[in-house]
Structure formats: structure tokens, C-alpha cells
Amino acid sequence: MICAGLDVGSRTIKLVIFDDGIRDSLVLETGPNPLWRCQEILSGRSYERLVVTGYGRHLVASVLGAEVVSEIKAYAIGARHLYADCRTVIDIGGQDSKAILLSNTGGMQKFEMNDRCAAGTGKFLEVMADTLEINIRDLGDLALSTSKVVQINSLCTVFAESEVVSLIARGEESSAIALALHEAVATRIVGMLRRVGIKERVIFAGGGALNSCLCQLLGEKLGVELAVPSQPQIVGALGAALLAKQGDGQNYKVVHKSDRLHLNRKEDK
């Protein structure tokens, strides 16, 4: 059976089509209208069941008639599928960071998630990259290019930005500032991880795992080797697709392909 998992995140939408393995996957910017974007993504694709996760899950699932799952559970299931011995999942996404502890059978035991503010999330680094006029993709490598230590004390995006501005004015190099920013995020994430308790193996997923400096700092601070999936962003969508696959029509409603996907767009407005 072909199943689809859709992860409607704050920054990107991820799709996984799954039958015996991942048949197809993609990552696209969410943009201003996630519903349209999802309809575009799904249009022309055939699948028998769909489960939606991510920040926009309720909006999208209610229109598409799909079931929903929290991204916390979706990440837990996706990570466990990729690494059968996974006990801890770190997910740094656009607006949320999560630390999830799994039992040895893979059930969720405990989780922590950042509160409302963007501190310790991908958004935080994105805002700071803007201030430094650096592409977010290059921020991690830039930070790794220096060993100079400066301090960013504030994790509040607003205050940290003014700290960055002061550091720039003091003549600090962008690389040193970038490193300090990553340090601040990594410290925050480690705090969350310590609260859930860390058990190996630790999987680092979400868009944040694309950042080379975060991977290195988290590994160093935790003193464990992190496993980073080859496509860290799609782990949640994969988990959703796996849930769709497991669904027996009770827990997860069967949605027939493309039933309600091509809505009149005027209605959406």
C-alpha cells in the first residue's frame, strides 16, 4: 500500500511517499499559504492514505480530510524507523526545538519543547544570519572556521540581535559571532536534552541538523556521537507516512487519493 506523510512546518513543507521504503520525498518552502502549497505538492500523486503533521496539520488535514499526528510523535516514529536502536531524538525546526526520549521499544517516554519564543530554534539562527548578512546555509561552516570565543548572553531573539549588533560595532569577526550564536543555541538544546535524559543512540533531525556547527557542538557538549539522517528534514513526514501505513482504518481514517484535493481556490479565500 502506498502511503503519504505530510509535515507542514513553519518554514518548510515536507512530503514522503512510502510503500516498502521511501519512494519519493521533497522539501519545499511553506510560503504564505500552506494549504495551497500542500495541494500543489499532492496534486497528481497517488497514495491510499495520508497523515499530516507539523504546525499546519489541523488546517491542512481538515481540508484534505486526513488524520493528524503531532510532530513530536511523528519524529519519534520516523527516527526509530531509520535507526532501530534510537532512544533520543533532537529535532531543531523552524520555530520549535524538541528533545524526545524513547523507551527501548520505541514508545515516547518524555519530551521537552521550547516555549513560545524562538530562542534555540532555526528561526533564531536565521534572524541572526540576516543580521550578519550571511546565507543561513553557510552560517554553520562560517562558525566552524574560527576558534575565537566571544559570548552571546541572551537567547531572546530580540536581545541577542542587539548583542550581535554591538559585537559587530566592536569589530568582532562574523565567524566569531556566528560561533557564539551556535554556542548559545546548543547550550539551550542541551538543557532540554538533560531534562528528558539522554540515552544512546541519539538522532539529530530537523532542518537544524543541516547545520554543521550545531552537529559538532551538540556532539561535543553531550559527549556522544550523534547520528544525522541523510535527509534530516523529512523525518517527521516519514513518521507520518509510517503511521498512515500502520493505520487500520480506525485510528487513522482512510483517505482516498485526491478525493478532496482539488478544491476551488476561491473557496479557500
Partner: protein, 425 residues
């Protein structure tokens, strides 16, 4: 009626324009949160009416009382002994302070990193938005947190405020201090009203307030049943309304509601499926119209069966002895009863931890949600111990820190849904 209300609000100095916006916002929220529920007990009709007329009839009653020479005493905390107020022929009113609406106003003066409850209450006065505050002759504050303590100093520039000192420990010395505070409060109320608080009146008032406590205890006992006959939202509303409604009327309405719930229980009729996760909420108070956490939990398929909070069990669990005696003896009984409230302002406060574990068992809960208002340091720090204790007992816990605004609804939904996924077997 509406015209009468407008005139009354104008007479009370209400900022009518802003007040209209507030009331117009409440209707749709109530409709979404409350009236959308199915299978509600008929007895909730009274409470729907009270909220629908939130600044109407009850304010008129208080005004009438004031016009006849009576006094109205406004309070913010379950530590203020209302028996003394009733005994002096005055009417106590628990103020709400549960909306984001008045927060920006307060932030013009108070520091932003103050809890929403303090900001909301201050904003209501500053913006002349609450007819209950405007009707009251005295606001009674207390020292259950530093933020409130200092806010009351500023509030006293706008309206007469009296502050009771709630001690921070439960030692013999602290109890003596509190007994003295209760005695002093009696003098303050006697002076305000010109009426003497004698033994007979105090004993009568004690019975009156105890009756309401008994009715609320009965309501909560009914929530221990599976399937639960009333939603957490509805039960929370009953408690919230009992803070400002007439004590006798409220007791009568809660009793009628409980009678109905008993027939539901006998018929095994519940508001949620048998397998809906049963949740105990513990932590900061939820004042009207703060229904945020209950709403998210119950729309995600859980049912809230108990609140270990000042708008829950701490409000009514303990009774004041009714065996009368001298005024001094009765005041001592009152003081002792209030010292049994396990507020996070106390150190240590292990009794609260025991309460949470006990309630989790009694109400057959599947998980506990610890709720604290952002910047409420006492509850936030105490949550660490709550977590330790519950972990030992194997009771799942989710810690939520939030305020009255809607900005974090998405994040809260994610965490709450994940928590329910985790505890659903």
C-alpha cells in the same frame, strides 16, 4: 435592561467605548469554547446566563447594596477570609483578571515581565473596565507573591487597598502572624462597614460559606466518576462564577447541578468516551475568561477531571469548624483553615505535592498538566519538585508555561497532543 446597564456603567466611571470592545469580544469566545460543547448538563444554563450578563445583574445587585449603605469588598486571592466580610454585612467579590484584553494597558506602567494575572487585574482598574472594581469600596490584597505585593502599592493610588500579610512558612510563628492578620482584618472590615463582627454573625457567615464549599466538593466528587458527567471547562466555570456570585444563590445552583449530575452518573452517562485521557491540572489559578488550557485539552480529546489550584480544590477543600464559640475562637478557626491552603508562596510546601499525588489517584487520572503563568516564579520553581514526585509515582506530567494571549496556541496544541498520544495506551 441594556440601557440601564449602560447608565450604570457610566455612573461607575467605566470607559464605555473600550468596555464595549471587551464585552463584544467575550461573546464569540464563549460561544466557541462553551456553547460548542455537546451533551452539557442543563444546570449549566444558569452559568451561561451569568457569563452572558457578566457585568449586568450582579453589578446591579452590588450597586443596590451600596446604595443601601452596604459595602463591597473586592479580593484577588483565596486567602482573604470572606466569612469576616459577610459577617460584617458587606459583600466580598473575587475579581477575575483573566484576560489579555487589559494586559497592554497595564504594561504602560508595570514591567512587562510580570505575570498575566497581575497585569490583567491592574489593567482593569487602570482602564476603568471592570464594574466590580468600580463598585467596590475596598480592594483587599495579600502578599502571596512579590509582583502582587508591589502592584498593590501602585493600585492604592487609584482606589483604597488593604494588604493582608500571608506568611511564607507554616511554622508556629508564621501561624501566629497569620492569626494576627485575620484579627486585624476583622478590625479593618468593622471600621469600613461600621458594623460589629460578633460571634453569632460570624458563625452564620461561616455556615453560609461552608455550604458553598460543600456544594463545590460534591461537584468535584462527581468528577471522580468514569465516565465523567461534566466537562472540565464547565466545572471550571462553576468555580470561577462562585467567586463573585451571591453565596446562597450559587450554592443553590451548584446543588441543583450536582443533583442532575447524579442522575447522569446513575445512568452512566458521560461527556467524554470512557477511554478519553483523564487529566488533573495543577498550578496557577485560572480566572474568567481564562479557559485556554482546558479548551485545548478537551478539544484534543482529553477530559479535565480536577484542578489543583486556587480556582479549584484549594478554594473549597477545607471547611471552617462550625462549632461557634467566641469571636476570638472563631477567628482562630478561620485563620487555621486558611493556613491549610497549599499555595506555592510557602516554603517548604510539600503538602501540595502530597495533594497532587492524592488527587491523581482519587480522580483516576492518566496524566497531570502542570500549569504556570509565565513569570510566576513560585509555581515555575515548585514544578521541579512536582516533576520529581510524579516521576517517582510513575504519573505522566506535562509542564506548561503560558499567559493569556493566543500567540502560543499552536505550540501548546503540539505539546498537548503529543502528551495525549504518549499517555493514550
Amino acid at each position: 435592561m441594556t440601557t440601564d446597564n449602560r447608565q450604570m456603567w457610566a455612573d461607575l466611571g467605566i470607559d464605555l467605548k473600550r468596555h464595549d470592545v471587551l464585552l463584544n469580544a467575550l461573546g464569540p469566545i464563549y460561544k466557541e469554547v462553551y456553547l460548542s460543547q455537546t451533551n452539557r448538563p442543563q444546570g449549566m444554563g444558569f452559568f451561561d446566563f451569568v457569563v452572558g450578563d457578566i457585568h449586568g445583574i450582579r453589578v446591579q445587585e452590588l450597586r443596590q447594596h451600596a446604595m443601601n449603605g452596604g459595602k463591597v469588598v473586592a479580593t484577588y486571592c483565596v486567602f482573604v477570609p470572606e466569612e469576616i466580610v459577610w459577617a460584617a454585612g458587606a459583600i466580598p467579590v473575587g475579581l477575575c483578571a483573566g484576560t489579555q484584553f487589559s494586559v497592554p494597558l497595564a504594561e504602560e506602567i508595570l514591567p512587562r515581565n510580570t505575570c498575566a494575572l497581575i497585569k490583567s487585574s491592574f489593567g482593569f482598574k487602570l482602564g476603568r473596565l471592570c464594574p466590580y472594581v468600580q463598585t467596590s469600596h475596598l480592594i483587599v490584597g495579600e502578599t502571596t507573591c512579590d509582583g502582587k505585593k508591589k502592584m498593590f502599592e501602585i493600585l492604592s493610588q487609584y482606589q483604597p487597598v488593604y494588604v493582608m500579610e500571608v506568611p511564607n512558612k507554616k511554622t508556629g510563628l508564621s501561624r501566629e502572624l497569620w492569626a494576627g492578620e485575620v484579627l486585624a482584618f476583622k478590625d479593618v472590615i468593622e471600621k469600613l462597614t461600621g458594623n460589629e463582627v460578633n460571634a453569632a454573625k460570624l458563625s452564620q457567615a461561616t455556615k453560609l460559606v461552608n455550604e458553598r464549599r460543600r456544594a463545590l466538593r460534591r461537584l468535584y466528587d462527581l468528577r471522580k466518576v468514569r465516565p465523567v458527567p461534566i466537562s472540565g471547562k464547565d466545572a471550571l466555570l462553576v468555580t470561577q462564577v462562585s467567586f463573585y456570585d451571591d453565596v446562597t444563590r450559587c450554592t443553590k445552583q451548584v446543588t441543583a447541578l450536582c443533583d442532575e449530575l447524579e442522575t447522569r452518573v446513575a445512568a452512566r452517562k458521560g461527556v467524554a468516551p470512557n477511554n478519553a485521557p483523564r487529566i488533573l491540572i495543577s498550578g496557577s489559578p485560572m480566572a474568567i475568561p481564562n479557559w485556554k488550557l482546558h479548551h485545548i485539552l478537551e478539544t484534543a480529546g482529553a477530559v479535565v477531571v480536577c484542578e489543583e489550584s486556587c480556582t479549584g480544590t484549594r478554594f473549597f477543600t477545607d471547611l471552617v469548624p462550625e462549632n461557634g464559640g467566641t469571636v476570638e475562637k472563631q477567628l482562630r478557626d478561620i485563620a487555621d483553615r486558611y493556613m491549610q491552603i497549599h499555595c506555592a508562596c510557602f516554603t517548604p510546601n510539600d503538602e501540595r505535592l502530597d495533594d497532587i499525588v492524592r488527587l491523581a489517584g482519587e480522580y483516576q487520572v492518566d496524566g497531570v498538566v502542570h500549569y504556570n503563568l509565565q513569570f510566576c516564579h513560585t509555581y515555575a520553581n515548585e514544578a521541579v519538585k512536582v516533576e520529581e514526585v510524579l516521576a517517582k509515582k510513575g504519573i505522566p506530567l506535562l509542564r506548561i508555561e503560558t499567559d493569556y494571549s493566543d500567540e502560543d496556541m499552536g505550540q501548546l496544541r503540539t505539546r498537548i497532543e503529543a502528551f495525549l498520544e504518549m499517555i493514550r495506551k
